[in-house]
């Protein structure tokens, strides 16, 4: 017996010793010191393809650092609308049908090839033919290359080629040999190849987990000691994990932090805050094909019932501004004159009674994307607010792909309310948002209110048509269209989203973000502070 007791005691002592040793060892500092030339970033950006021509998804974060467009769209409020990219100047002629771009001299691609007008022509034609966002070049007629540094783009109708060519999807300039190889082998880029002119090259990619970018030494803007020679991006879909990586010193920048914790993180004073206005916004579509939402009075009533400020306070943790129509602030054709609803329950009740539904008394199904945290937070607020006017809402979170598939399948049998997070492909929400979200179509795609209003359609068609010729005239048409969206209320326009980038004091990150480039953080402008 004593023997047994003694051996148990021995085992316990050994275990205790091991435990203490481990704890001491672990506490004696871990390996989270940073390396001077390496910028460590945590991002959710998954890679669906390495092909810049086909790219149309979250990998744009990497594309925007490896490739460059002809020109960049500037933030609202800047002195000029665009700044030079690979083109140092450009001009418009023939009423907006012809655009001439003068290329920068001495720029080389990552494989050493020189940037010439034929390279630009090849890239754009490839994008127009088989790009993921090929539709932006739908009006392309032909491209001339009178000399190696001049590109002349001819469009079928007057177009805003400056805006189109600044897009983050479908406008990257790729070296000719890669374009030719990709034409023959559609998987050419997938092994991790790149051939751009941008500041970084793709050094390595571990599928689904890590991207390493290496500085391109002959980048035409040049390098200083303060800039980062290498960037490692940990692909982390979970915001809370990014936060843990940031606070433990594992990464310098976390691009997606949980909204509910940002205030606490900034309170400590460890980070300065860079506000990113984005071109993303939330809209609630009302199913206009089915009672009771086929009645415009009911839709208006519900627009008055929505708790706009609570949604922003709770859903977005304050990171948002109430939308004026479906066009995000800072993107053409947003207008401060577009009216917006304010929550007014009395008005809502009155309108419901007027519509023949005194006291509400009907049920609605609301679908939203189950994986969207913000929607998950504010959908219950909409439900609560509607219950105050007697409307009973059933919330149905569904994974987005299914939510969307169901909504497109049969409008008569689909949801009553569809919550959607949207953003324009390039900074033209007239031909994008206003068209995609509310123009009638034979089969619904993003028009998830199934709105069918000929007057609206006409205004949008007019606006898009005249945009290449006269922006003010286009703005006029679009503004009238947005007024219809207010009056007819096929949807409720919730808020334009804002993001905060927490920048540690060791970095300076001005110019790293731009509202015209959603999902992109530019790494080249990020420099070491001090």
């Amino acid at each position: 017996m004593r023997q047994r007791k003694r051996s148990i005691l021995a085992v316990a002592l050994v275990a205790l010793a091991l435990l203490t040793a481990t704890a001491a060892w672990a506490r004696s500092g871990s390996r989270s010191t940073s390396s001077p030339g390496l910028l460590r970033v945590a991002a959710t950006a998954a890679v669906t393809t390495w092909d810049p021509i086909k790219s149309f998804s979250t990998e744009v974060l990497y594309m925007a650092n490896i490739y460059e467009p002809l020109l960049y769209a500037n933030q609202p409020g800047a002195p000029t609308a665009f700044s030079p990219g690979l083109a140092k100047s450009w001009s418009r002629s023939d009423g907006g049908r012809t655009w001439t771009f003068h290329l920068r001299k001495g720029v080389t691609f990552h494989d050493g090839e020189a940037l010439t007008s034929s390279a630009v022509k090849g890239s754009i034609e490839a994008a127009a033919a088989r790009g993921g966002a090929s539709f932006i070049w739908a009006q392309l007629k032909s491209i001339d290359t009178p000399d190696p540094l001049t590109v002349v783009i001819h469009m079928k109708t007057p177009s805003r080629v400056d805006l189109i060519a600044s897009s983050e999807d479908g406008a990257w300039i790729v070296c000719p040999s890669a374009v030719a190889a990709e034409a023959k082998d559609t998987n050419y880029f997938e092994s991790g190849k790149d051939c751009g002119t941008g500041p970084y090259t793709l050094k390595s990619y571990s599928a689904g987990s890590q991207v390493v970018l290496q500085a391109y030494s002959h980048y035409w803007r040049g390098w200083t000691a303060r800039r980062y020679q290498a960037v490692v991006i940990e692909i982390t879909p979970e915001a809370i994990v990014q936060q843990q990586m940031l606070t433990s010193g594992q990464v310098d920048l976390a691009l997606s932090l949980p909204a509910e914790n940002i205030k606490k993180l900034t309170a400590g004073g460890k980070y300065s805050v860079l506000v990113r206005n984005t071109s993303e916004n939330y809209t609630a579509f009302f199913n206009t094909t089915r009672p009771p939402l086929d009645n415009v009075l009911v839709r208006r009533a519900l627009s008055y019932a929505i708790p706009y400020s609570d949604i922003i306070k709770v859903g977005a943790y304050g990171l948002g501004t109430q939308s004026r129509g479906p066009v995000p602030k800072g993107i053409f054709p947003w207008s401060a004159k577009t009216p917006q609803y304010r929550q007014n329950l009395a008005q809502a009740k009155a309108l419901l009674a007027q519509a023949g539904h005194p006291g509400g008394g009907f049920k609605l199904t609301l679908t939203y994307a189950a994986e969207n945290q913000a929607e998950g937070r504010f959908a219950p607020l909409i439900k609560d607010a509607f219950s105050k006017v007697g409307v009973n809402v059933t919330l149905k979170p569904i994974l987005f792909n299914q939510q969307w598939a169901l909504a497109k399948a049969n409008p008569k049998k689909a949801q009553d309310i569809f919550l959607l997070l949207y953003w324009p492909t390039y900074s033209d929400a007239g031909s994008d948002n206003l068209y995609s979200l509310f123009h009638s179509s034979a089969k619904p795609f993003f028009n998830l209110s199934y709105f069918n209003n000929p007057a609206y359609d006409k205004l949008i068609d007019t606006g898009s048509g005249i945009e290449g010729t006269s922006i003010p005239k286009a703005q006029g048409a679009f503004s009238k269209a947005m007024k219809i969206l207010y009056d007819q209320a096929p949807g409720a326009y919730l808020y334009d989203a804002k993001l905060l980038l927490l920048v540690p004091h060791s970095l300076k990150a001005t110019n790293a973000v731009n509202i015209n480039y959603p999902f992109v953080t530019f790494f080249y402008p990020i420099q070491k502070a001090g």
């Binding site: 809370i240 509910e260 914790n261 709770v314 998950g376 219950p380 919330l395 979170p397």
Partner: protein, 295 residues
């Protein structure tokens, strides 16, 4: 498909309920389990009355009271939408009990008849049925449920269906082995000689004997099912907001587990305690009713 001899369950006629209670009282851990289970059942039944704020428990929000620490006004604190967490946890006993009961009931309803037929008939039909059973048993347990729930679309109902589909094989096997051993008993033949028809024999004798091990298995399974449902909801494949599902609440509180620790801790604690209770009770029942096969 395993090679272990399946311990045939006790063939004594059903033990009196009184005797079970008496033996249970002598087992402290069993009593603990029974107490927890009783509290759970009572809570589920009376949840709206017990909860300080039943409406919030069901999902009503209170934007002004968000993320409050536990205190006198809110014993468990409030969550990200200002809802009283105690009420949420109490009302969460309903979907927990409902879905767990649904899973076990469905599994029994599917598995027991299949096992009966396979055991009694034997032959080709029996073999085929057992092959199908083995097929479903070959899925790694929770994986099939996750796949079904993900593909059907995440709701509590789909999660329950998915779990039941993974669970019924156990009951089929159990019933089949009981049936097979009973078939050999002389009193079955005697009953047949007296003209009692087969279905009656099945129902009366076999089910009566199988009831005990099935009950024990169901109780033990109850704990596992509660864990499984919580896990599915945590991933986002089960209950959806605003259902006060415990697993969903833990997922909700995950991002703030360091600062607003109560949001994730209390619902998880609820899952743990209920699963613990069911496991303890199941163990004790097995010890009492089936002394040979269990511990």
């Amino acid at each position: 498909m395993t090679a272990v001899t399946v311990a045939t369950p006790s063939l004594a006629p059903s033990t009196g309920v009184r005797r079970v209670f008496r033996q249970l009282r002598r087992d402290p851990t069993g009593m603990l389990g029974a107490t927890i289970c009783t509290v759970f059942l009572v809570t589920a039944a009376l949840a709206p009355l017990l909860a300080p704020n039943a409406a919030q428990g069901r999902g009503a929000t209170d934007v002004g009271a968000r993320e409050l620490a536990p205190g006198w006004a809110h014993l468990f604190g409030t969550d990200h939408l200002g809802r009283d967490l105690l009420s949420r946890v109490l009302l969460g006993s309903r979907p927990a009990l409902g879905s767990a009961a649904a899973v076990v009931a469905l599994a029994v309803l599917i598995g027991v008849p299949i096992g009966l037929v396979a055991g009694f008939r034997g032959g080709l039909l029996g073999e085929a049925l057992m092959r199908v059973t083995d097929l479903f048993l070959s899925f790694p347990p929770l994986l099939l449920a996750m796949v079904i729930a993900a593909l059907l679309g995440p709701t509590l109902l789909h999660a329950a269906i998915a779990l039941a589909i993974s669970w019924w094989p156990w009951y089929a096997r159990l019933t089949r082995s009981v049936t097979q051993s009973l078939r050999r008993e002389p009193f079955i033949d005697a009953a047949r000689v007296f003209g009692v028809r087969e279905p009656v024999i099945l129902i009366r004798h076999v089910l009566r004997n199988a009831a005990t091990p099935i009950l024990v298995q169901a109780t033990i399974d109850g704990g596992t099912v509660i864990l499984a449902i919580g896990s599915l909801s945590f991933l986002g494949l089960g209950a959806q907001p605003p259902t006060p599902d415990w697993g969903l609440m833990v997922a909700d509180g995950r991002t703030t587990v360091l600062t607003e620790w109560w949001i994730a801790t209390f619902p998880g604690l609820a899952i743990f305690v209920v699963a613990l209770g069911l496991n303890l009770l199941g163990d004790a029942l097995r010890d009492i009713l089936d002394p040979r096969s269990g511990r």
